[in-house]
Symmetry: C2
């Protein structure tokens, strides 16, 4: 076990030599003058300062992203919003870290391709194009023959699930880089000014916990702390934590974001990180779903700190690690609906807040035009 542990750490450390990975240029958005301009525009003498609270903050962020050269009358553009759902399997599920079996990942994707998942309903009602990317499911997928849910399916399979990270690195450095690049590539070919990111994959929360723990220095017991429950739940939690600790010890030498991603990440996480990088480099608004998408954002921020400026966090889930991740990202999510589902559900629930932000700004811009 010692010798294979060493082999694993050598493998993942190769990733520090960047192989073919070229990261896109991401500009920071920060312009305090722009924030003041937006605040003044939203203000009214007959209301308290900052009457719109966090809606003002949201408008400011969206303006910073879209109007680096100064606020224009066009306001915020949200046209053709895209929902990207990355799906993959995780070898660590062999260790019994999830209440679901590996087959469930594929079933979730099938439900989605059939148009019957919650994310289909939300994408339809909120006008999103929905694309599922097979980042590395254990099985092959096909689009159903029926009318389905008007879902695009892309195959960018890096492997048939990651390896069991308790025994070795989840993926090779080459695979990690390939997944990042695939994520960038997918986004490059999508239209729209807003990219919502979600994911499917049994075992992915175990990865998210490990990434959070290693990249932010959060004790693993906190990062992996699942919802409270007695009896068998408590036993399962202890078992899970023990397995995650084994993985963390095995990959103790993985430190850089790319090393950590390869050693303890997942294909869908790597692709989401790539998608974040590409979207931010194109000045798109990036709407992050839950704990796993948040962990991908954490990796992307580790590679390019400027991406943080482009992230809007949709919600806070019931997962205790998610709460800690948001704190480390210094992010206030828009919603807290106690969701226990990924797929982008929380991102799409939060989306109308962006539409409201757009409308609040547009009203003031129009009023300013009228009075000139």
């Amino acid at each position: 076990m010692d010798s294979s542990g060493q082999a694993a750490s050598i493998d993942t450390r190769m990733a520090t030599r960047p192989l073919d990975l070229e990261l896109p240029v991401v500009q920071p958005t920060g312009r305090p003058a722009l924030d003041a301009q937006v605040a003044a525009l939203l203000a009214s003498p007959c209301h308290p300062d900052h009457a719109l609270g966090r809606m003002e903050t949201l408008v400011q962020q969206l303006v910073r992203i879209q109007h680096p050269e100064g606020l224009e009358v066009a306001g915020i553009s949200l046209e053709r919003p895209q929902m990207l759902v990355f799906a993959a399997d995780h070898g660590i599920v062999d260790e019994g870290v999830s209440a679901f079996s590996q087959e469930t990942s594929g079933q979730r994707v099938e439900e989605l391709l059939a148009g019957e998942a919650p994310v289909n309903a939300l994408a339809r009602v909120h006008g999103f194009d929905l694309t599922v990317v097979d980042a590395g499911l254990a099985r092959q997928l096909e689009l159903p023959a029926g009318p389905g849910g008007r879902v695009a399916l892309l195959s960018r399979k890096i492997g048939h699930g990651t390896r069991n990270m308790v025994l070795g690195p989840a993926m090779s450095a080459r695979q990690a880089v390939a997944a990042l690049q695939a994520g960038m590539d997918v986004v490059r070919h999508l239209p729209g000014r807003v990219l919502a990111l979600g994911d499917i994959g049994v075992g992915s929360k175990a990865c998210a916990s490990l990434l959070l723990s290693r990249l932010c220095g959060v004790p693993l017991a906190d990062a992996s702390g699942q919802e409270q429950g007695g009896g068998t739940d408590s036993l399962r939690r202890q078992h899970r934590l023990k397995k995650l600790q084994l993985a963390a010890v095995r990959h103790r030498k993985a430190v850089s974001p790319l090393e950590v991603l390869a050693a303890m990440g997942g294909f869908e996480i790597a692709m989401q990180a790539g998608a974040v990088l590409q979207a931010a480099s194109e000045r798109r608004i990036v709407l992050i779903d839950g704990f796993v998408a948040g962990a991908a954002a954490l990796v992307a921020r580790g590679l390019k700190p400027e991406v943080g400026d482009y992230l809007v966090f949709g919600h806070r889930s019931t997962e205790p690690g998610h709460r800690l991740l948001l704190i480390h990202m210094q992010a206030q999510p828009l919603l807290d609906m106690e969701l226990r589902i990924g797929q982008g559900v929380g991102a799409l629930l939060a989306w109308p807040m962006l539409q409201s932000a757009q409308a609040l700004l547009a009203r003031r811009l129009a009023a300013g035009q009228g009075s000139r």
Copy 2:
């Protein structure tokens, strides 16, 4: 001062004799079997139980409201949603309890009638009809000549602002009843299955604090606790609390909801309470905005406990009293955006969650149909 205090308490106690007030019949919605049916419908074998968290709870509530005889395939209907904004002035503003002057109430309404208030932008983007009701502003209002914001204005003025409740009851029992009836009447003539309630009126938060304190037994210092701030803010808070305490002592004998409403309420609060009662009696979904609308809901619940079943709370504001009010209503608001504005802004920001709830249920109902 003692003799006028006694006169005031006799005046408000008249309200216990119901005058002409006939409250509409409100049916409780509770049907545990229906909740289980909805939960089963939203569940999927490839997701954890209650994966949709508070969205499931929301769907259950909306179904209970609209389908008392059992869930139908039609699902949740949200057609022609109505935003009602009640505006009034408050005599207690003479005591310096607000940072704004009484004239500001009228200015806020003018901004709204001109289509330039935040609530206009949100009503437009989210497809609400917007109606402003002059419940008792100190001044006369006219619709602006220009294109405006497609806002209907109704005059149901009970008086030119309430009286200063530090000196006597805010309104007579007759006025309180007239305001409640006006609120019912306004709703009776509106279409739609969803009624959002908001308000405008400098000094209204002082009323809300007093109503909360008296009706729920919350210490006044907590119910009126405003946001923290140093220096003059701290002095202003102390001054305000002293004035509210004077009002509370003067109306110490007001106990029943109607007595309390007349003694320390406002015209827009009374009308909102009437609107809640009428809407609940018609099985409409009632979307409550902020602290003041919440206090009106508290009064309505005091008069007819069953109305609680029909209330959806849009948001939690920065007002500490609002937090306590929500706890006493056993309500979890949909949003927490740190708003410092009423008018229905928070209700309209939360509205898309109802659309999402509708869509999530519709998907499952359609899937159930298809598989039969």
